[in-house]
Symmetry: D2
Subunit: 349 residues, 4 copies
């Protein structure tokens, strides 16, 4: 019963096979190999335009490099208070950005709204006294397992662009959102106003493979140096390329995401039936529920893994009772129905 | 009618005279002069203990250098959301601190409370995912013209120290708070649990003179290098020393602060009588009131200077009406009764 | 004829197998898995003491994290002018170190000497005007394919420690040096005065696996946060652990290094016999020779890969003739005798 | 006998008078006052073009802010190995520049040449492995008291611009060079290819007043925020403006510089006559000589102040004898003939 994180699953077999295959022979390092060139083209095709792409092994790095590249050090990144960049990256964006600031905004169900953003942008004395809002960062799917609709993304990016902010999307769970919405990769990103995407494959089944993507390649000027000096240019780069090749082959990525989402839906449905309804709409591969201390103890005793969760986004009219804990349950491509059913059996008993 | 800021006043005459006198002859630069050594001793006497002291010309620098020295880059400074370090220093603490984070907390009347602090310290997943709270920063007097009592300071520093945080006090208006409380400098700082004080004289009548003070000198190890590489080591250092000498001579600093506070009290009292009551208790040299648009226009036309103010600390049961603006009025040692009376006459009419 | 870099070889089969095996089942992320704990113990056994160890996928990151952790931002790292940290990391140590400085010293054959170091340490006005030497960084094996003897390491670390500097060793080619000297890992590091080692496995046959090792664990305080905020904490951490496990199993790492060194020796010997003598002693897996433009063209035409090299370490009495180029030839565990012999045939013709 | 530094002199009387006069009445802070606007116009007139100007109290800050603004963090500043930015600013450019690198070049008499620069620019593997040369920094007058001719400046800036580097001039002793060359301020700067000038008045007679000047104002975009977050925006800004007004009034600045230069020339001439010839041409307000230990002791005993000096620029055919020390003697507007004559009497005896 592994619900601690999608990163507790291993590598999807097809991706592991691709790593093994990529090991044949010699290849120039640092991205100067044929496989890297090929996968870059593939990204362009998938996103229906020219891109500047930078592969890195770790998602925190992808976000930090992207945000630092979009903002001068005196800039501010407008983001949800519960976004990964705000809570779980130990200050990586601030470090890479030379001391830039995150302005952390509350919003229901892990999502920002145009009104929240507008209100925040109206604050401050302006330069040179205040930091200057320079980037809007959206997480898709959000940390709370919800998904922005295309219209919601568009409405937010419109406010950002009006005010001269660039738009960053943290897509650590990009595929989960995409298959939920049933749209194309371009539609959910640059066609909806996103300027830079951090496209994650690690949580979805890769060993460690993330892509920073600039939809306007001119904006990426200097990024090769930034990545290198951040220590994020893998020498045996073909193994990054291989992971993405396999990820895209035969739409594996969509298949894996559908599987993870379906597991979450099943988990949510059964938990609800067992009297443990999810706190937020289950739109990707995360389910948040409040467990009684007794349930929690039984589950732990049975070996289930998951984490308690802190939130300021609790839905109106929902409250965590005294002897209950809010917990996060994450499913992945590797989650089995047996795990789900066993979990629900114990949780609901 | 100069109420825009205490820094719109010039230099107190006694301090200007001291600068003129200090110009005689030659003196070694960079703090290696006799006047600097002497003023350091004076600080020690005033604060009743050995100190490591670093003089700089600018207050933002003092705060940024101090905070950077108290926290590793992955640390977080707990501060009021409306503190100067959070809103008016363009990210200086973040820059000097290598990307450290400010955790900005709401609190009434510009003040934090032990409960607010405790709640904030209970958040976060801990290292290595979250930044780590390392410093509590208090502003005395606060940005909203209120003053922490000694008991309030003690209660906050106790929570901080329990959790291993160092305590920084932004004393840009230190003297205003001190004369309000009627206590000694030691009592309001290290005896109440403050570890590092940024002691401001600029707003109080100096040309530009601030002191970063470590109550435990061992904590200042490396600070000379940090100040120098921040570009904050004045070469003709005797002129910084001279400002502080004059500031302390004959308790000038307390006299100037009392004058500024008295001006604020007079302004508040008369405004209240004129039907424009202050929003927060007037405990230092700042008065916040809501002006009707008509009053505002009349005052501006008459040449009054002051700034509108944004706040999230509005007292319960107080609200800003539609055609009103919240404004900040700052008095200084140089404010005259005539200015005050003229202002009230127009504001209340 | 692949001599461009040791990173153009793929993954050693045993290490790839270990990655595949590690894929079974679920494992907690971020190093909280059993395999990571086990491999940490293995490092301790190998180095004959308690260690604080941090695994990362990329060598530049390892060096930058280590140096930043050993020095305050106003410190200076004394290093060879041709070391990787000075020439090939795009300023990563300076970035991670908050603007620290590398003091780049000339020295024959890529090596520093106690006299060179002493002379450099005698420079400067001292704090607060000058940066302060805080770290000595040694590369073992050096960038020029030479190896410090144990006595040379000891003599250098003694000078460093006398002056209060910490000692960092860049061990990107650690194993190559170790098997050359025929000593134990402890003997070449902490027993000889090294404080922190960046232990590389990537160039030696891993996919991407490096370890930062603090011989005094107390010195690593805060390092988990530094690694995380640098974006260098791999979520699926078991795959880093697996690489090292296989690397150490049955002394694979020594076998691989011996193979790479033997290939370099063969290459050097045959080139010398063909009238193309190596510029520096061939003590690890790199051979530097000057090729005539004609040879260079023939080799390129035949598909050989290698890079030209710049140096200020040219041995006395050796000079590069007008129509010649200095080139670097790097061998690896995967270099074949056929490649070597083909290369020499063309180069010497 | 004060020859330790030009900053040991106090404030020129006319500048001090201006500070006193500027104290009348109230003025908006942070440069929003009339005096600041006026002095900005004056700079433009003096330099014969539109400028973006930023006044700061300290020279190290001026250089660091300027260099950080001209280069991305992965850039390198080409400079003389004995320049102030390289040796005496404790790493301020590296800190403000997010870890940028100084590439420190040897050159006779404190000066770079086009050949030295070209050679240095030919080094390196290029992006993303190497840092990228982005700025050429020239010091005028140099740290060794020499002055670049207009032709020398032009030749160097031409090489820089060909390669896409911006040109920074550290003009801490700008006036000393200007009166020596007898040219206009525009001629020695932008007309000769300088892009950004740090114009110093502190060493020349101000309390603390420096100006960062962008000859292409577009290049200064964001600089107000950078200055503020560096802690370098003086609140009582009128006192910076006042210093410059007085400095320019009646060409005081040129008068002061001529006086300092004349003192150095007299000192050099008399020392030479006394058998103690200057090591480098005396072209500004610094004289370097080697003193016998006996002379040194006599001078110290008589109360003379000056510093020993380290150099790698020693002229060919000049060497420092065993019982001698190289020392720097700096004159200022305040140096008297009596001081000079007394010094020479003792030094030459």
């Amino acid at each position: 019963m592994n619900f601690a994180s999608d990163n507790t699953a291993g590598i999807a077999p097809q991706i592991l096979d691709a790593i093994v295959r990529a090991n044949a022979g010699f290849a120039l390092g640092y991205g100067n190999d044929a496989a890297t060139k090929a996968v870059e083209q593939r990204f362009c095709a998938l996103f229906e335009r020219d891109l500047a792409i930078f592969l890195v092994p770790i998602g925190t790095a992808a976000n930090a490099l992207a945000l630092a590249h979009l903002s001068p050090p005196w800039g501010a990144v407008m983001c949800h208070a519960e976004s990964h960049i705000a809570t779980d990256e130990a200050g990586a964006p601030e470090f890479f950005g030379g001391g830039l600031k995150l302005i952390e905004l509350a919003g229901e169900a892990g999502k920002l709204t145009p009104d929240i953003l507008r209100l925040a942008l109206a604050r401050g004395r302006g330069a040179p006294h205040s930091v200057l809002p320079t980037v809007l960062s959206l997480t898709q799917a959000t940390e709370l397992g919800t998904v922005y609709t295309i219209e919601e993304v568009r409405a937010l990016t419109a406010v950002a662009h009006e005010r001269g902010l660039a738009v960053h999307m943290d897509g650590a769970r990009f595929a989960n959102a995409l298959v939920r919405l049933g749209v194309g990769a371009a539609e959910m990103t640059w066609k909806a106003g996103v300027d830079v995407l951090c496209f994650g494959a690690t949580k979805a089944g890769a060993l460690g493979a993330e892509a920073v993507m600039f939809f306007d390649p001119a904006r990426a000027d200097g990024m090769p140096s930034r990545r290198k000096r951040g220590g994020h240019l893998l020498s045996k780069h073909r193994f990054l390329a291989a992971q993405f090749e396999a990820y895209f082959d035969g739409d594996l990525w969509l298949t894996l995401a559908r599987r993870a989402n379906a597991a979450a839906s099943r988990l949510a449905k059964r938990l609800r039936a067992a009297g443990v309804p999810p706190v937020w709409p289950v739109e990707a591969n995360e389910v948040f529920v409040t467990l009684s201390n007794a349930s929690d103890a039984r589950l732990k005793a049975a070996g289930a893994t998951y984490y308690p969760w802190q939130t300021d986004s609790l839905p109106r009219k929902f409250r965590i009772e005294a002897d209950h804990t809010l917990v996060r349950l994450v499913t992945s491509f590797a989650t089995t129905n047996d795990e789900i059913d066993a979990f629900v059996r114990i949780a609901g008993s």
